[in-house]
Subunit: 118 residues, 3 copies
């Protein structure tokens, strides 16, 4: 039986779960910049992903999948500009994007990723 | 080549699929309580998850990820109350929640999980 | 450390990523039939999935999970007719379906799958 490692655990959810060589992250939102400019929200979301990946002994070069939830597709060009600068060339994950209603109208986006770990 | 085990198979989909130490469940809705009170729907959905996890030799303490689809975020507090009572402390999965249109307006929620198996 | 194999890589995303015996595909849309009849879009999406699975040394008989994003649930009967003819009996994946806003109103559907590989 393989081990499950849970990261940033609270009584309702974990920030990340590592199992079988894969780390899955909870959907990341811009808690500190909620209601703020899209650029700030995107930067915070990507930084939160970097931080959780690091805790899981992974990093953005080992991303496997990304699901991008937007409150409005109008922000996709701005998201993509930040994403393209952040992502490691040649190491791009799969992507699926959709517009949905997020937990709060103060959030412009939520990003869900999986990555390979040791 | 690893084996794939399919559970609750019908001509269109499987209720659960086990592969590589992970069981993935189809999105679970409250078939018996469709159109019923949210509390009843949540209870049925969580029971259906318990049952499928058991068939896959897993259980709610081994959850890896949960995606919570709500027809209206207004029911989130009621969902969370049931979730918090159901989940095993210290064994919380990742969570991603979003409001979408579900297959029928009679469904208040649909929950998709993955879990570790032997 | 297991290898990551990326397929149909561009600077923003990969069409598919293989890791740990599983191939994950990006959400597939009907690029050639955008704005076209639903039947044509469904056929193109399923063909794109077949092609990517083949590049990943997998095939539709080894599907694990499918997430079906529709721009309108009204097309579900038409989708299901094509799906039921395409899927391999006894080898059905898990399914989760939802109505969301897709990247373009010209797209009627987007399908995301995972499958087992060698």
């Amino acid at each position: 039986m393989q081990n499950i490692t849970r990261i940033a655990v609270n009584p309702r959810m974990s920030g990340a779960v590592v199992y079988g060589g894969v780390v899955s992250l909870s959907g990341q939102v811009a808690i500190d910049h909620r209601g703020g400019p899209v650029a700030d929200q995107v930067r915070e979301v990507l930084t939160r992903i970097d931080d959780l990946l690091q805790e899981a002994r992974s990093d953005r070069s080992r991303l496997l999948t990304a699901t991008i939830l937007l409150s409005d597709f109008a922000i996709m060009p701005e998201f993509n500009a930040a994403w393209d600068a952040w992502i490691v060339p040649g190491c791009t994950p799969t992507r699926t994007s959709m517009q949905v209603v997020l937990a709060s109208p103060a959030y412009a986006l939520e990003v869900v990723v999986t990555a390979a770990t040791d």
